[in-house]
Amino acid sequence: MVIKTEPFVVNIGPAHPSTHGVFRMRATLDGEVVLDIEPVFGYLHRGIEKLAEERTYTQIIPLTDRLDYLASMSNNLAYVLAVEKLAGIAVPERAEYLRVIMAELQRIASHLIGVGAFLNDCGAFMTPILYMIREREKILDLFEMVCGQRLTYNYMRIGGVSHDIPEEFLPALKKFVDSMPGFIDEYDQLLKENEILLARSKGVGILSREQAINISASGPVLRASGVKWDIRKVDPYSIYDRFGFEVPTGSAGDCYDRYRVRVEEMRQSVRILKQAVEKLPAGEVRSEVSHLVRPPAGEAYGHIEAPRGELGFYLVSDNSIAPYRFHVRAPSLLNLTALREMVVGWKVADVLAIFGSIDICMGEADR
């Protein structure tokens, strides 16, 4: 029974406990039911695209760190891939493997936060996210070992990576790879079958296959809707064609599927890591590239499968030391396009669960 009352407007965000940064939803509510919602962006618009036009190609790498600050390695990778495509630079084999290792570690770290934050938005009192952050800490330790920072790595370089790994890295990584599946199992046991979580997320916020494609969704959001589309498979970049892994997909396209797809992707990433650790060759990690890269005039679009979806960099060069135009195809922004269709008619609590299940990063959406 729903008693119709006078609709009223509530702002959820920008500084709301669970908007994952500074997103704002102008929601029209009728009691608890959402009648309409208008996403308001821009609270973290920092003008990265403009700033990049004033920096050299190498100096842009720190900027990309801060795009999707939960997946800095992936951003670095996408950017250097685009520049290498633009300038036609080859990358040593060992560097490719290191890149893959870093990108997959980053995917696990990012999904851990994504899943944890989603469970938090469903109302679990911090426990899952704290467990997940604990696992993420292990990954951050590895990153810190390699490049000295915990969040903004600035690790990839045009033509390779900045440093070779220290010798204690591989044993630690092996240990991590061995122990991680056990932890994923444990977290599955924690909440995968929890009746309350199922009630909160199954059938909630359904994004159909057609809708998902039409709004240019990507990443786990697209795959949860049943589209088997993973850039690592359909357009293999770097050396992803050398690894065997599955692309998990959902069927219903609801919040629960998005959550499950992320968890399964973590398992697949562990699988890739295992193979990469075994095959890692010796050799150089950086090809000889001038410090000031001057790509020939032209344009290039490099894209990777970042944790949140297809992350693309569109670069236009005019043969100077700085890009003429630098555009980021941000998965977070596009995945939000369907937010309105997904939440209308649901309750306020569902809005946040749905929003959490899309797992966005405002640094990337607003740029």
Binding site: S18, E32, V34, G123, L130, I196, L198, R200, K202, V204
Partner: protein, 374 residues
């Protein structure tokens, strides 16, 4: 018995802590006991605040407050002093009188619950013969305080929180009362002290389903997970007390823990045989059981997510209420058919009945979905 006419049946319960020939009669007993209860409630509430933070910390693989005093036990004291000395902000557009009164209205009933709780045999402020009914009645008053807070704050989150509070608390009062009735039927009395005395085996064994229903309903009444919708911070910031600061907020914060304490105490009394127990002194048993119940509540809080508002309501009406009615019916039949025979057989029977009922009911009961066409 009237509250203003002490002396009827109180004397029967005097062998407990206080000597019967106390000078001044019952007024002194009252005065002393009120002070004792106040001290007990405040101390226990602070202890609970500390314990919850420590326990949640350990559940989450971290430590929790440990730097203020030994093991951080002074943490709630520091919190209290700090909160009390913070600036008191009153929203400009709100209803100031109501805003001011709300924490008081919420706090007083919770405190009054402890008047009838037996800390050990006969050690209680007033052994009302309507004891448990009094508890249920009085605790339903604090909803009004919550509502006053949400209304007078002139904030939409507060109002949403208050609306949720009212619908939720009113709904869960029914299964709560019905689950208590099972115990009352077994004990044959409403007085809490008599209920404790009637428990030769703890009623949790005779009333397992009633216990579960009571725990669920009580968790909803005191806004604990998974029913903590009123102050769901991921949804409506801090719920009805979003606009409160300083001392008034401290009162609401205290109310929260006093309510948990009240529920722990009442569960202990109704289902866990109160102060009864071998070897240890009764008061110690009482405290151990209260802390045990509280730990379970914290444990649940550390594990489960929260339900949605309509699911909470559906759970009360479609699941708890029928189960509570069936439970009451079965209890009544048992009391009529086997008065005081073979309690242990009844224990196993009731456990079996509980399992069967839950399995059966799960077939009918559905949660999830819930989209509204707009």
């Amino acid at each position: 018995m009237s509250l203003f006419d002490p002396g009827l049946n109180l004397s029967a319960y005097y062998p407990g802590t206080l000597p019967p020939e106390w000078p001044g009669g019952y007024w002194i007993h009252w005065g002393v006991f009120v002070v004792i209860i106040l001290a007990f409630v405040l101390l226990m509430a602070m202890g609970f605040i500390w314990l919850e933070r420590r326990e949640v910390g350990r559940f989450q693989a971290r430590l929790g407050p440990n730097r203020v005093g030994p093991f951080g036990v002074l943490q709630p004291v520091a919190d209290a002093i700090k909160v009390l000395t913070k600036e008191d902000i009153i929203p400009a557009k709100g209803d100031k009188l109501v805003y001011w009164l709300a924490p008081v209205v919420a706090f007083v009933p919770v405190l009054m619950v402890f008047a009838v709780v037996p800390f050990q045999d006969g050690a209680l402020l007033a052994d009302l013969n309507i004891g448990i009914l009094y508890v249920v009645a009085i605790s339903s008053v604090s909803v009004v305080g919550v509502f006053m807070a949400g209304w007078s704050s002139n904030n939409k989150y507060s109002l949403l929180g208050a609306m949720r509070a009212v619908s939720q608390l009113v709904s869960y009062e029914i299964p709560l009362g019905l689950s208590i009735l099972g115990v009352v039927v077994l004990a044959g009395s409403l007085s809490l002290n008599s209920i404790v005395e009637a428990q030769h085996i703890p009623f949790i064994l005779l009333q397992p389903l009633g216990f579960l229903i009571y725990m669920a309903a009580a968790a909803a009444e005191i806004n604990r997970t998974p029913f903590d919708l009123l102050e769901a911070d991921s949804e409506i910031v801090a719920g009805f007390h979003t606009e409160y600061s300083g001392m008034k907020f401290a009162l609401f914060y205290l109310v929260e823990y006093c309510e948990v304490l009240a529920v722990s105490v009442i569960v202990t009394t109704l289902f866990l045989a109160g102060w009864k127990g071998p070897l240890l002194p009764p008061l110690l048993w009482f405290l151990i059981k209260v802390f045990g119940v509280f730990t379970v509540i914290v444990w649940v809080r550390a594990t489960v997510p929260r339900l949605r508002v309509d699911q909470v309501m559906a759970f009360a009406w479609k699941c708890l209420l029928p189960l509570a009615l069936i439970n009451l019916l079965i209890t009544g039949i048992q009391v009529l058919v086997w008065p005081e025979v073979l309690p242990w057989a009844v224990v196993f029977l009731n456990l079996a009945i509980m399992v069967v009922l839950i399995l059966l009911w799960s077939k009918f009961f559905k949660l999830g979905g819930g989209r509204v066409e707009v």
